[in-house]
């Protein structure tokens, strides 16, 4: 089956998310849609899947014009989607999830089980149709999503950023599955912004920037060429930094354990030191306790035991206010939820955590003149693109929002800087900026902790890397540890031992 998108245009108010996009996918080929976050990839796929109606343009399947008024129509026409965030019901079994919405077509639960077994055997998935979704690892849940699409006889499969939640090994397995599907004649649209994956698997590459197709690329192109197409200018993909100069500032974390609401250990006996002047990156697949660890440092986790000493001062057990007052800067993982008040202006957000005392508050009243002066200065210094300091933060792009967070957190004297997923969802230009700020704060001589699930970022930023798995730290290794080793650590395998010679981690010996 051949899928053609012709001149698809989708507007949201003044923003044109898709501007006359053409795309063709043939059976038996993997077509990569490469673009930064916000380039319009997901919008395009939502148009294809019937979730949005295009303002202009046509969708053709084997030359026939299609009109999808909802995902049901798209599914019936043979289009399947594997969403970035799985659309599965955790308490249902695999078969029940596959059956959902197609009760008649699949012939009830027994039919669904049969179908799951059939597809599972064909691709060697080894999935038990009676297993509950919540008991399955993330990689396997994704396979259930694939089975769901295939059970509807999907001839065109769309993978929307499928590797975001996977370990490197699971990513490799997914790639193999995609190749197998392609060889069986499925047309695959693979949406991603990760150059490495594109170059490993794509048959064709279409690059989208700011809602427009900027051209086709070949997998033989270098990553730098692909990146510059994606961004529209030459980009520096490596993080520029000098060797670390360690200072006598230190944060010492000892035996930190965090329990969740039902008493399970989400952070399990974590200990490490970070010296001033170095960046410790915490790597790991999402959901292995990194979020809770940073929240424990900042004082947001009430069920925490252990010790966090910043230059000898105990932070554990202190309130968020006290932790912030002791000079901890924190960039939360989800800036729109935890970092910013979208309905506040830039000026208000820049003083969000300094609502008491000088310089912004005098006798209970906010000194607007001081606030606005500060905001104007930061707007300039951090190159925040907005109409003015009274612009509501909710209307800014992700990169500019993150700059507001950074401007606020770095806007006061710091003795520890913690950044959680600081570049998630940002465009390459903003990522460069954020990275340079992280390195700048390191070079100012304070300890810096960066949590990231992107291995590229970890390797680029870190002076040392701590890998977390199921709440525990698998190991702390130097920044030049090989990707293979890091990948294994992210799956829970401790490094053979702390490698003595960093150039050959496979043959590690005790240091």
């Amino acid at each position: 089956m051949t899928l053609e998108l012709k001149g698809i245009t989708k507007r949201f108010g003044a923003l044109t998310a898709n501007d006359h996009i053409d795309l063709e996918v043939n059976a038996g080929e993997i077509h990569c849609l490469l673009g930064e976050n916000g380039a319009g990839k997901s919008t395009l796929m939502n148009v294809l899947y019937g979730l949005y109606q295009a303002d202009e343009g046509q969708i053709l399947l084997d030359g026939e014009v299609q009109h999808f008024s909802g995902p049901g129509d798209a599914m019936r026409a043979g289009i399947g989607m594997v969403h970035q965030h799985f659309m599965l019901i955790p308490v249902f079994t695999v078969a029940e999830n596959v059956l959902l919405g197609h009760e008649k077509a699949l012939g009830g639960l027994s039919g669904a089980k049969q179908k799951v077994r059939e597809i599972s055997d064909r691709f060697g998935f080894h999935i038990d149709p009676d297993a509950k979704i919540e008991d399955l690892p993330v990689g396997v849940q994704q396979r259930v999503e694939i089975i769901k699409a295939l059970s509807q006889d999907a001839k065109v499969l769309v993978f929307d950023e499928p590797t975001a939640v996977l370990t490197p090994r699971e990513t490799d397995e997914l790639m193999a599955i995609m190749q197998q599907l392609r060889d069986e004649g499925t047309a695959i649209v693979f949406i991603t912004h990760k150059l490495r994956e594109v170059r490993a698997i794509a048959d064709r590459i279409t690059v989208i920037r700011l809602g427009k197709v900027v051209g086709e690329a070949s997998r033989e192109d270098s990553s730098n060429e692909l990146a510059s197409m994606m961004v529209g200018r030459a980009v520096e993909l490596t993080v520029q930094k000098s060797p670390p100069v360690l200072t006598d500032n230190i944060v010492e974390i000892r035996g930190l354990t965090v329990l969740d609401a039902i008493g399970q250990k989400v952070v399990n006996d974590v200990s490490f030191d970070v010296r001033g002047g170095e960046v410790l990156c915490i790597a790991g697949v999402q959901g292995n306790g990194q979020t809770e660890l940073t929240e424990a440092i900042i004082g947001m986790q009430p069920r925490t035991t252990g010790s966090i000493k910043l230059n000898g001062l105990e932070l554990q057990g202190k309130s968020v206010r006290e932790v912030l007052d002791s000079g901890v800067g924190f960039v939360p993982e989800d800036r729109t939820v935890d970092g910013l008040v979208g309905d506040f202006t830039i000026a208000e957000n820049l003083m969000l955590d300094r609502y008491r005392g000088e310089p912004f508050v005098r006798v209970g009243s906010i000194d607007r003149a001081v606030r606005d002066e500060f905001a104007t200065e930061k707007l300039d210094a951090f190159d925040i693109r907005a109409q003015g300091i009274d612009t509501h933060v909710g209307t800014l792009s992700g990169g500019n929002q993150q700059k507001v967070v950074l401007a606020r957190e770095l806007g006061r004297p710091l003795s520890l800087f913690v950044a959680s997923q600081p570049t998630r969802g940002l465009d390459v230009g903003s990522i460069e900026f954020v990275h340079s700020q992280v390195i700048a704060s390191r070079d100012a001589g304070i300890p810096v902790i960066v949590v990231s699930t992107e291995l590229d970022e970890v390797v680029g930023l870190a002076d040392r890397i701590a890998v977390m798995y199921r709440g525990g730290v698998v190991g702390v290794v130097p920044a030049d540890t090989s990707r293979d080793t890091l990948g294994l650590m992210m799956a829970g395998e401790p490094p053979a031992a702390a490698p003595a010679d960093p150039t050959d981690p496979s043959e590690g010996a005790a240091a």
């Binding site: 949201f12 108010g13 923003l15 490197p168 490799d172 397995e173 150059l195 700011l210 730098n224 490596t238 060797p243 670390p244 360690l246 006598d248 500032n249 010296r275 001033g276 002047g277 900042i298 230059n311 968020v320 932790v323 912030l324 935890d338 910013l340 008040v341 979208g342 506040f344 003083m351 969000l352 955590d353 609502y355 209970g364 009243s365 906010i366 607007r368 210094a381 190159d383 907005a386 209307t395 792009s397 770095l410 004297p413 003795s415 230009g429 900026f433 340079s436 390195i439 304070i446 291995l455 390797v459 680029g460 040392r464 702390v476 130097p478 920044a479 990707r483 293979d484 990948g487 240091a511």
Partner: protein, 469 residues
């Protein structure tokens, strides 16, 4: 399976860098320099044009109804008022006996029915106007008589404004204060008790009584806030139930001799307020407008400062918009919840104290709140939860109350119709897409037919030009 193949130009390879002090993990002792414990980090300049600076539409199709209710704007409020007056007019016409009678022979003499409808609707709204703003029907009675309806409106608006603030400020912190009744009752009881139990100089007495009332309301509000903050109980349930607790507890106190009951009566009613503890009329008889109105205006000004200018209000709004961000910024959300409910209860308390010291000074019953605690919700909604919005919404509802009586007396329109109109206003406020559809306004995020047409024309023109050149 192996890792994805790596290429020579793979950009993500770690850069080779020399480590003069040895890798931090190696056994060697790294060079350590002394650095200040807290440092200001100076931002690094980056290449201009580095970021995506498109702004996104503030388009929130799945935005919560709560947010929409909170964020109503002036145009929508006015349209909602207009739409509900139209609906009210239809109801007035439909319930009018003459219209009903004339409808029997509509096809024979349609003019009769149309005339009757005009008489009914115009008469009713004219009475509403005369009863609430300007009594122009008897100019010979003098200016005072003409203007008296306006002062009646202000008089009715007085507790509505205060109660509206009590709902609005809670709204801004993301809390629904349904507990106005209980807060008002405690305030009324406390203010009343101070009023009839103590002997104080005239002005001081009434001020002390009102202050004690405000504190009582604030405490009752804070109780609800504390339950919400520390146990997670939903404030809607808590405040509703606390209404009943207050109602029956105060009823009991009003029944019990030696507590609040008037010793001269067997009924559940308090002793009358002494003159020193009543709010005097501003302009003297025949006007009933008392100094409580000035207190309400002062409350609006205070509330406006509190929400918009104060540090506390900044925290309130941050919590109301985004609780997680407030927590991350170190705000004590629990404390703020309690404080917000205390302020809400305080404003309600002002309304309750105004009732006891201004409106009903002959002794109060457990019905002293007169439903104002609930009307406050509608007032705050119409006012978009802003202090001055609440002020004007309170005036409007005060006008409805003042004019409603005259409408009933002069035109025989049931006063319930006025309540229907009020309810429709809130209904329309809560459903902006409905009002937009009724008045053909563009829905946010969607283009109007005209916009689309113009754009298509423009596009055709440019294409033509392109073809010509």
């Amino acid at each position: 399976m192996n890792d994805t193949p790596r290429d020579a130009d793979d950009p993500i390879e770690p850069v080779e860098r020399d480590r003069p002090g040895g890798s931090p993990d190696s056994g060697e002792q790294p060079t350590v320099v002394h650095a200040p414990q807290a440092t200001a980090v100076t931002p690094v300049a980056t290449a201009p044009g580095a970021t995506d600076d498109r702004t996104v539409e503030d388009d929130d199709p799945w935005g919560s109804a709560f947010r929409r209710i909170m964020g109503g704007n002036l145009v929508m409020a006015l349209l909602a008022i207009f739409a509900s007056l139209v609906v009210g007019g239809i109801l007035i016409a439909a319930t009018d006996e003459r219209v009903q009678a004339a409808s029997g022979y509509f096809f024979a003499r349609p003019g009769d029915m149309l005339g009757a409808i005009w008489d009914a609707v115009f008469g009713a709204y004219s009475a509403l106007f005369q009863g609430s703003i300007l009594n122009f029907s008897r100019p010979e009675a003098g200016f005072a008589t003409m203007i008296k309806p306006l002062t009646d409106t202000l008089n009715f608006a007085t507790p509505l404004i205060a109660a509206g603030l009590g709902v609005a400020i809670a709204f801004r912190v993301g809390l629904f204060n349904i507990g106005g009744r209980g807060q008002m009752l405690w305030a009324a009881a406390a203010a009343g008790w101070v009023g009839f139990s103590f002997q104080l100089p005239p002005v001081l007495h009434v001020l002390v009584a009102i202050a004690v009332g405000i504190v009582a309301g604030a405490i009752w509000g804070a109780v609800a806030g504390a339950l919400k903050a520390f146990t997670g109980a939903h404030e809607v349930i808590v405040t509703i139930m606390l209404n009943f607790v207050a109602l029956w507890f105060i009823t009991w106190m009003l029944r019990t001799p030696g507590l609040l009951q008037n010793p001269a009566s067997n009924n559940p009613i308090s002793p009358p307020m002494p003159d020193s503890a009543t709010l005097p009329s501003i302009f003297g008889p025949p006007f009933i407008l008392h100094w409580g109105f000035v207190l309400s205006v002062a409350a609006v000004i205070f509330c406006s400062w509190l929400i918009n200018r104060s540090s506390l209000g900044f925290q309130f709004r941050a919590v109301g918009y985004n609780k997680s961000a407030a927590l991350n910024a170190g705000m004590d959300v629990k404390r703020l919840t309690v404080l917000a409910m205390a302020f809400a209860g305080g404003f309600m308390g002002l309304a309750g104290a105004q009732q006891v010291t201004g409106a009903v000074t002959t002794g109060f019953t457990s019905g002293i709140d007169a439903g104002i605690g609930f009307d406050g919700i509608t007032v705050a909604l119409l006012g978009g939860s802003t202090p001055w919005g609440t002020f004007f919404a309170g005036l409007l509802f005060g006008a409805f109350k003042a004019g409603g009586f005259r409408m009933q007396a002069a035109e025989g329109v049931p006063i319930d119709i006025i309540l229907v109109v009020q309810s429709f206003i809130v209904l329309f406020i809560a459903a902006p897409p409905l009002v937009r559809a009724m008045f053909g306004l563009p829905q946010p995020g969607k283009k109007s037919r005209r916009q689309r047409r113009d754009e298509a024309a423009l596009k055709a023109m440019t294409q033509q030009k392109g073809a010509q050149s």
